[in-house]
């Protein structure tokens, strides 16, 4: 039996996002655990692990964030395939290698099978690089990784019964990375699998940077020396501090510049739109456009234009 579970802080979000995906994915005998969240998320997830651990016929537990929507109907088959190797402890749809901190995206991401569906600025989709199975970059790989993103995770019965989330790491961040490290330290594998999902979330990756920074430091301290590469960087502590401060300030400067560019480009486009709509030629040709609109068949949906090597943006349906 494959069980599904979600820790819920917003029942409306759960009903709109996670629940439809779980219904799509679950089999007739699947158990679905809807748990009212307790802080930190690690405590909620441990409670879900405890519930699943009690089932003797457990094949896997799939934990889904309340804002994550599984899209495929054969998720259970995919989970069984991913966990078929008894050495595998945990699987997920987004994974990376070469990771040294909770910022897994600073590592080499091997699979990212999700869409970030956002409501900001009228809404749209950010499609991750390996979503489209027919158009993937050459570095896409399904298999063993160092860490997974926690929004969709599939646990083997061994992991459910033997590994627990660390409740001392703060409210929300780093719990997934730490769990993967525990699984690997115990000699089991962490793997990616095609568990595609839509993540319904805003575009801002870190709405609470102070909490995230604390979790980053706690995890680095916990694992430095226990797992190769984690919390490590070249140089003395003094050299590391000075370089990281410089790189931090450079990254912040990029953020400020992007915000300025956003203001400038938005102002320019809004000016152009206003100029166009208030021009005499636009106003005197209004009847022409009305006529044209009346005789036109509905237009096909526009293609998603690319705006980067890994992401595309389009309107939400």
């Amino acid at each position: 039996m494959i069980a599904f579970g979600t820790s819920i802080t917003r029942p409306d979000v759960f009903r709109a996002c996670a629940l439809p995906g779980i219904r799509r994915a679950a089999e007739p005998d699947s158990e679905v655990y809807e748990l009212e969240a307790r802080e930190p998320i690690a405590r909620s997830y441990n409670a879900l692990l405890d519930r699943a651990a009690a089932r003797e016929d457990l094949e896997a537990l799939v934990l889904v964030h309340q804002d994550a929507e599984l899209v495929d109907g054969d998720v259970c088959a995919r989970v069984r395939a991913a966990l078929a190797d008894p050495e595998v402890g945990i699987a997920g749809s987004v994974g990376a290698i070469g990771v040294r901190s909770i910022a897994w995206w600073e590592g080499s991401v091997t699979l990212a099978s999700f869409i970030n569906r956002y409501e900001d600025h009228g809404g749209g989709d950010l499609v991750s690089f390996s979503w489209d199975a027919h158009d993937r970059p050459p570095y896409t790989q399904v298999g063993e990784v160092e860490t997974l993103d926690g929004y969709v995770l599939a646990f083997s019965p061994w992991a459910v019964r033997n590994v627990r989330f660390d409740e001392s790491l703060g409210a929300f961040h780093g719990y997934d990375f730490d769990y993967c490290l525990q699984v690997r330290e115990a000699g089991r594998k962490v793997v990616t699998a095609e568990l595609r999902a839509i993540h319904h979330r805003p575009l801002e990756m870190l709405p609470d940077p102070a909490e995230w920074v604390e979790a980053h430091m706690l995890v680095a301290e916990k694992w430095d020396g226990r797992m190769p590469g984690i919390g490590w960087a070249a140089g003395t502590w003094r050299e590391r501090a000075l370089r990281a401060e410089a790189e931090r300030d450079a990254a912040r400067a990029v953020g400020h510049s992007r915000a300025l560019e956003l203001a400038a480009r938005t102002a320019q486009l809004e000016r152009a739109l206003t100029d166009a709509r208030t021009s005499i030629s636009w106003r005197i040709t209004a009847p022409l456009r009305l006529l044209a609109r009346a005789g036109r068949r509905p237009e096909p949906r526009p293609e998603r234009p690319s705006f980067g090597p890994e992401l595309t943006v389009g309107r939400a349906p």
């Binding site: 575009l203 912040r252 953020g255 102002a267 739109l273």
Partner: protein, 287 residues
């Protein structure tokens, strides 16, 4: 006498921006020192100090960046007001408290009205350093922004920019630190400025990072808890990268629908048919 000085790498920028502002602000007896920049910013600015130190009746030296335009004809009154306290060594329109690195703009910024005027995307202007502006002058600060610095006669004679900051970044923060170490004050004053700059705050990132490290080496004591500092900085760096990535994505998400709307509007038959009319109109407006 209040003197004005600029060390320029781009004479055209000086002619277009700094010089009109200086002309607006200068008094009949003001000395205006315009020099070609030397190999490094600190060296260039020290040459200005040496020239100004030779002036007999100096009340203040105003160092103006080539792309900074003083916006107020009553500027000299503001200079005298700021330097009325004999303990004040350096004044300027924009400064910050809590400064620990060259990136003073990420701390508690205290600024006079400073407008950032850009030419990209059809041109426009925004309030400069709005993301961390916490108050208005007058106020005592740790460091001032180098685009406009007012130095007292004491500072002109006694202080020098650190020429071992070879890459130039942080010369302003460093000079202010020297003034404070000598027991003098660094203050912001109401001196409106227009900054004519691109939108990109830091243009050569790799070089800037090296310069930041270089300045950090100059200022770092031996008593810091380097491990704790490294851990925090590495965490904050990764957070800043994530947020800057989010800012890029948000930019695209906001701009793309507007671009699509404009494309749709200007690709209509009626828009294309009336193009000659608009051209004619534009020519008429252009005189």
């Amino acid at each position: 006498m209040i003197a004005f000085g600029t060390a320029m790498v781009d004479p055209e920028a000086y002619r277009r921006y700094a010089r009109p502002g200086i002309d607006r602000a200068a008094e009949p007896g003001s000395e205006i020192i315009a020099l070609a920049a030397l190999a490094s910013v600190p060296r260039s600015l020290n040459l200005l100090l040496e020239r100004a130190a030779g002036l007999d009746d100096l009340e203040a030296l105003v160092i103006v960046d080539q792309d900074a335009e003083i916006g107020d004809p009553r500027f000299c009154a503001a200079v005298r007001g700021a330097l009325a306290d004999p303990d004040v060594a350096v004044a300027g329109p924009t400064g910050a408290r809590g400064v620990t690195t060259v990136a003073w703009w990420d701390e508690e910024v205290i600024s006079a009205p400073v407008v950032h005027r850009y030419e990209e995307h059809g041109g426009g202007e925004v309030e400069a350093f709005a993301w961390s502006r916490a108050g208005a002058p007058p106020a005592e600060v740790d460091a001032l922004a180098g685009f406009l610095l007012v130095l007292s006669p004491w500072a002109v004679r006694e202080l020098r920019f650190d020429e071992s900051l070879h890459l130039g970044v942080g010369f302003d923060v460093d000079l202010c630190g020297r003034a404070r170490a000598a027991g003098r004050k660094v203050v912001t004053a109401r001196m409106p400025v227009v900054l004519h700059r691109p939108l990109e705050l830091v243009e050569e990132h790799d070089l800037w990072i090296e310069a930041h490290v270089d300045a950090g080496e100059h200022w770092a004591g031996d008593d810091a808890d380097w491990k704790a500092r490294a851990r925090r900085a590495e965490a904050e760096r990764d957070a800043a990268r994530a947020r800057s990535y989010s800012a890029t994505v948000m930019l695209d998400a906001r701009v793309l629908p507007l671009e699509r709307e404009l494309d749709a509007l200007t690709s209509t038959l009626s828009w294309r048919l009336t193009a000659p009319l608009r051209k004619l109109n534009a020519r008429r407006r252009g005189g």
